[in-house]
């Protein structure tokens, strides 16, 4: 089959990978001079993209056309003929749209010291030489160009990438850093990173600002927090710009006849499939998403595209996909007049459930509101990325009251009332029934959530792999909105397909240098490392003494080859052949 992939970003390349592995001919067209998309514009992601792409560049069945712009599309008997502006024509049985995202450009606020995240990324890029001399105080401002009247979606990734920019900054210098946020929409382990940075002195303030007065030495910023207006100077201000659908998507939808929704993203008639026959969709063309999800949907879209041709994937593949249907929150007694949901926890490990519980709380709050109840949601952090923000907005319009706690605010629950203590005042809410985040964590007890171990980029991207026999999707991969479960299912099939024939690479331990510290054992999510005792002959002076020392040993049966151990070992004793 001929598969055409439109867009050479990470999602397009992922789709190409799976289609090639399935034995199909793949053409990737990229409208710029080089594949890479947004990832290639981020210093620390560039290499990751290149490594990923290099794995297929020499495949004979792959054609990559750069600087390609589609002029015309014809479809006859289910075969597309795509004519490029330079006259080339491509025949394709299936088309995968992976046109990606377009970063918002906040022209009205930008300056020499007020930078977008992309501009800031170039500042901290090693390749661009030294950091500016005055690099002492940096302020990050989230949600610029998202969650607004013009574009009501949350861009999903800007909180996370801001956290990474904080990390990359701290790897090079030690400036004072403040992150100004509306909600911190992190995922999985990122909450642990957040905690680590807080402990290291990074300040988080729940307030935003658009007062940036720039002069030659810095930027004066005003913000309102703790009941007061504050004014502070920063050397640089970084605006976490949102991601919107690529403007190309409009043209593509005209050419191929698929629909877009009111926000400009492609509509999925079925998971990863548009409403135009033979046209599939992946990555940022569906909704704002992270790199890992772009890979996942790329894999999945290819599985769907080649699978719909009648050649179905074999049962054994599907047998490896593992999912779990979540137990729902226990029934709520609906006889009360007023309800308060409290969305907050102190335990950073539990915060990865914010996304799932936020969604559930909003749904429940709306349900109760429709019954005419007084419903209030007090939140430390409402994690409703992407289209979740729309549900959140609906709930607000329907009269659910959302109160945001600032960093220093605290809430206490007494019988039939909740007290919110703020710096300047106390708010007392009369409430019959309180429903707390922590009450629901039982649902998650004793489960092996994949993302608990895997939200940071690894040497190898494996969006669903738990072990070679088990691929997690849905709730047990990472609890989030339901629409993801089916996409993940197809994504997992793609990942399995890629793994089947792949030579498994095991980490190698240079035993003579291993100090037996056990860091790798702790790092391994699959219990694949055991510490073995090794007899050591120690001959200093006099007779030989035999003593025991432990060294790391990799158990072949359990190792999935994720490379985390190699990344963790403090003395680089474990190597991972790439």
């Amino acid at each position: 089959m001929n598969i055409l992939v439109i867009g050479g970003g990470i999602s397009g390349i992922s789709a190409a990978k799976v289609a090639l592995r399935g034995g199909h001919d793949v053409t990737v067209i990229e409208c710029t001079s080089e594949p890479g998309g947004l990832m290639a514009r981020i210093a620390n992601c560039r290499v990751g993209f290149k490594t990923f792409f290099d794995e297929i560049t020499d495949k004979p069945r792959l054609t990559v056309i750069r600087d390609a712009r589609i002029a015309k599309v014809e479809k006859r008997e289910n075969i597309f003929t795509i004519i490029l502006e330079d006259g080339q024509s491509i025949r394709a049985d299936r088309v995968i749209v992976a046109a990606g995202l377009s970063p918002y450009d906040p022209v009205e606020y930008k300056g020499k010291r007020v930078l977008t995240s992309l501009e800031y990324d170039a500042v901290i890029d090693q390749r661009n030489g030294d950091l500016p001399a005055d690099f002492e105080k940096i302020g990050f401002f989230l949600c610029v160009g998202s969650r607004s009247k013009e574009y009501p979606l949350c861009s999903s990734v800007c909180c996370s990438y801001t956290l990474r920019e904080v990390k990359w900054t701290l790897q090079r210098a030690k400036p004072e850093i403040t992150v100004f946020y509306n909600d911190l929409r992190f995922f999985g382990q990122e909450f642990l990173m957040e905690k680590a940075y807080r402990d290291a002195g990074v300040r988080f303030v729940r307030a935003n600002s658009r007062y940036f007065e720039e002069d030659d030495d810095g930027v004066t910023v005003r913000y309102f927090a703790g009941g007061d207006l504050k004014e502070e100077r920063f050397n640089y201000v970084v605006l976490a710009i949102g991601l919107r659908p690529s403007p190309e998507l409009e043209r593509l939808s005209g050419l191929f006849g698929f629909s877009r929704d009111q926000f400009g993203f492609a509509v999925e008639k079925e998971p990863l499939k548009t409403d135009a026959e033979g046209v599939y969709v992946a990555g940022g063309s569906i909704e704002p998403m992270s790199i890992k999800d772009a890979i996942l949907t790329g894999f999945g879209a290819a599985v769907r595209a080649v699978g719909d041709g009648g050649r179905h994937l074999s049962e054994p593949l599907e047998g490896k996909v593992y999912t779990e249907i979540p137990a729902d929150l226990p029934d709520i007694d609906k006889s009360h007049a007023s309800y308060l949901f409290y969305l907050g926890t102190e335990d950073p490990w539990m915060k990865m459930f914010y996304e799932y519980v936020s969604g559930r709380f909003i749904a429940l709050a709306r349900e109760l509101r429709l019954l005419g109840k007084t419903v209030c949601v007090v939140s430390r952090n409402m994690v409703v990325p992407s289209y979740g923000e729309i549900e959140y907005e609906k709930a607000r319009r329907e009269g659910v009251v959302f109160l945001h706690l600032e960093e220093e605010d605290s809430i206490t629950f007494l019988e039939n009332e909740a007290r919110i203590a703020r710096k300047d005042r106390e708010t007392v809410l009369a409430i019959d029934k309180v429903i707390r985040f922590d009450d629901y964590l039982r649902l998650f007890d004793g489960k092996d959530f994949l993302i608990q171990f895997r939200s940071e980029p690894q040497l190898r991207w494996s969006p669903t792999k738990w072990s070679r026999e088990k691929y997690h999707t849905g709730f047990i991969r990472y609890p989030r909105a339901e629409r993801w479960a089916r996409r993940e299912f197809y994504g997992a099939l793609g990942e399995i397909l890629l793994d089947v024939e792949e030579e498994r690479v095991l980490p190698e331990v240079s035993e003579d240098r291993c100090s037996g510290c056990g860091s790798c054992k702790d790092a391994c999510p699959h219990d694949a490392i055991e510490m073995e005792m090794r007899e050591q002959q120690v001959a200093l002076f006099g007779p030989n003494v035999v003593s025991g020392a432990s060294i790391a040993h990799v158990k072949e049966g359990s190792c999935v080859g994720c490379g985390l151990c190699a990344a963790t070992c403090p003395s680089h004793v474990i190597s991972y052949p790439m």
Binding site: N182, N208, R210, Y211, R222, F224, D228, L229, Q262
Partner: protein
């Protein structure tokens, strides 16, 4: 409840109580508010939250007195909420007039336009008394740049986010 206030607000701005719910609580409005150039620490979002919760906004709220109708908050607000119009409606329902409004209206009456020297004359005492002298240069700027905004249409077509035909 404050039926009166809501009636006044709806008549003047077209906003209903639930329309204030779109506010994210980001406090961007407070960061840019002109009143904070003078006496720091007003938060326009406060007013929206009070209204949304059905609380009365009373006449001693600093913004009700000092809002300059500069529309800086509206321009910066992610949801473009027309806060100054809400405040004008509140003033109406509370039968209040700010020092500036009196001065502007006086100026319009006498000169048929905004005549800065007259406005300074009328507001000077207030500015001096409150220790706002150092902000005078900024004020001149706002008056010349922002006043046209201030007297622009009092839109009454629908809620704050109907631009895409969404509810």
């Amino acid at each position: 409840m404050n039926e009166e206030q809501f009636k006044a607000i709806f008549e003047l701005t077209g906003y209903r109580q639930q329309d204030f719910s779109v506010c994210l609580g980001c406090k961007i409005c407070a960061s840019v508010c002109t009143v904070n150039d003078l006496s720091p620490s007003v938060n326009p979002q406060d007013i929206l939250l009070s209204l949304f919760l059905g609380h009365e906004v009373n006449s001693d709220h600093a913004l009700v007195h000092y809002c300059t109708n500069c529309y800086r908050c509206t321009n910066a607000c992610p949801w473009g909420i027309r806060i100054p119009e809400v405040i004008r409606a509140l003033r109406e329902s509370l039968a209040l007039e700010s020092t500036f409004e009196r001065a502007f209206k006086g100026s319009l009456k006498i000169w048929g336009r905004v005549y800065e020297p007259y406005i300074f004359m009328k507001t000077g005492v207030f500015l001096l008394k409150e220790g706002y002298l150092k902000y005078m240069p900024k004020w001149t700027e706002y008056m010349s740049f922002h006043l046209p905004h201030g007297v622009r249409r009092l839109s009454s077509q629908g809620g704050p986010s109907d631009s895409k035909g969404r509810l």
